[in-house]
Symmetry: C2
Subunit: 364 residues, 2 copies
């Protein structure tokens, strides 16, 4: 196996696949990147047995072949070489020699035969989005994914294709974030699957352009395919709760609130709180939204957001982090707060397919 | 006590003094900043009993007075307010009210009478440097300060004024870094003191301009005085070892080496090492400096730096971190490596007053 490649392109390709490489794995081969050289290029593949990332690099292949070398060490060397062209050669004992300018390094690899094989699957549906749209969808909901070990089905993002709608959903039981967004194209059957949080995070990182991304969904796996990268992930098995039951069917009051000003005031007044169980109080009355907080240890805070609201006064309390997160994630200037009273669920509507439902805290 | 101040200026002043505030102290008052309002401005002071930082802010003082409030909370609020002018008012129970635009926060403070008093001292000598010079001096040596708890005198930077020379020195017993640099002015007696590492690090952070900085040295304390800030620090007591004994008086070979290329090669080949006790081997021969490393677990590395050296071949091994640190710190394009053989101390000379002495590793 022998090839020449642009050092810069090799570095960027390795950076795309490096994130599945943990700090130490019980299986040494999982710390390695599989390099397949054939035709006019290379394929670089890493996996942690849950997520598999594959990417291509154009290269001048003198001798086709496959090997694996320690991924982080390879990236460290490729980043620190200083010349443009990188030569790579591997012997039958999987010793890889890298040449770049007047520097030469050898890495001890492992046989490509020991690298976990790709598992084929037959997609039951196929969705195509713009990369930036899918990145935004995941960014708007992933903070609400549960980190609680007892409910595995909540450890991912639901992707539900039903009644000609596609919904992406995350919840931890205390708040619910939903984005409804039709794909640019759709094939296959209706149904729903749970995409692990880590796969969603990889997509946020890798779908960094404006090209198309295809989601191929199978029974137990999904693949996310862009021009440069394929991310294959196991799906979370089990039944996601019926999130539609959580969304109130009607509200008494709808108030438009400027997103950034509201967020800034929540971040300001919550500085006087002393622990995570604290709350901020929102008071809607007389065309003002008062944001208030207090703690016996630190002090008090009051900030005012100008709104248009002349209805009955409503006072409602929230965990400030749960209120700030959707405001940081939405892309709209104004959100709509949908309210009934001080104890019923409140919905934040982004009017662009984004909906967030949160339970008030009962502090009195 | 009552004043109005520019929010921006107050924020910058708080950022200057915030670094002495630890995460939690046994003495709550040490988490507070002392605010003294008088005449045309404020004085903000923090201390951790070892280092004291004081800075001024111009303000419109309506009612003079002194109080203390939690420093991190005050900075958090001042950073998150959105209007330009900040109003501050404090009652006799040390409750401080901050007003900014339509936001209002209250912080619970503590009496200024409980804040540790400043201890006066009489300087025995006074040195004046340009801020950028003193910042560079400390940056070039502080990485060599010992972190070993058993030798307290090595926990700081020696400042020795002797024989019309001023030397700043740091060592951990394995390597020694020295900068000799005459101040712009000098008054007082000769002598030497040990400045704690933390004080040196504060100066690197705070002496960020091109103005003058005055070092006033007393028996047990030193003060660093700039236009905007005064840092007072306790000195480390004890006798610093006679570092001059470590510097060889003569060398057989002197080799000029390009700093950045040498550093890049060390950083490259040391990637194949697997633990901290590893070494890189330098070979000087035939107008080449070969930088080599190897480990049984990862592989081998070889890189070449072009030099002018036609003398007897010399091979010498070093801890790569100890070799890289001075190269990152020096400000010159070429350093001079002063060598005798493969087992004697080697000196790196920056030809600008910087000298670094390092013992080779005996790996064979």
């Amino acid at each position: 196996m022998k090839f020449k490649v642009s050092r810069e392109k090799m570095m960027k390709a390795l950076q795309r696949v490096i994130s599945t490489i943990g700090n130490r794995s019980t299986l040494p081969i999982l710390g390695n990147v599989l390099i397949e050289a054939e035709g006019a290029g290379l394929k670089l593949i890493t996996t942690d047995l849950e997520i598999r990332i594959s990417t291509g690099v154009e290269a001048a292949v003198d001798e086709a072949g496959r090997t694996t070398v320690p991924a982080k060490k390879l990236l460290a060397l490729v980043s620190r070489f200083t010349d443009d062209e990188l030569g790579f050669e591997c012997d039958e004992r999987h010793h890889a020699t890298l040449c770049c300018g007047n520097s030469k390094c050898k890495l001890l690899g492992l046989s490509a035969d020991d690298f976990p094989a790709d598992t084929e699957f037959t997609p039951v549906r196929r969705l195509v989005y713009k990369e930036s749209d899918l990145r935004r969808i995941f960014s708007q909901i992933t903070y609400a994914v549960s980190l609680d070990d007892s409910r595995k089905v909540l450890h991912g993002v639901l992707c539900a294709c039903k009644d000609n709608l596609v919904s992406f959903v995350a919840t931890d039981g205390k708040r619910l974030a939903v984005v409804e967004k039709l794909p640019e194209s759709f094939e296959g059957t209706e149904g729903e699957v749970i995409i692990p949080l880590r796969a969603a995070n990889e997509i946020k990182r890798l779908a960094d352009g404006e090209e198309k991304i295809t989601i191929e969904i199978g029974d137990k796996q999904a693949a996310f395919i862009t021009d440069t990268v394929v991310v294959t992930s196991k799906l979370i098995e089990g039944n996601y709760p019926n999130y539609r039951l959580v969304i109130p069917s009607r509200f008494n009051s709808q108030v438009s609130v400027p997103t950034q000003a509201f967020l800034a005031k929540i971040e300001l007044v919550s500085q006087v709180l002393s622990d995570n169980n604290s709350y901020v109080v929102l008071s809607f009355a007389d065309n003002q939204l008062k944001v208030q907080a207090a703690s016996a240890e630190i002090g008090e805070g009051l900030a005012i957001v100008e709104i248009e609201y002349a209805g009955e006064p409503i006072e409602v309390s929230f965990n400030p982090a749960f209120l700030a997160e959707p405001l940081r994630a939405v892309a709209v200037d104004h959100i709509t707060m949908n309210l009934n009273d001080g104890i019923s669920p409140v919905a934040i509507d982004g009017s662009d397919g984004f909906l967030y439902v949160i339970m008030p805290m009962r502090n009195r």
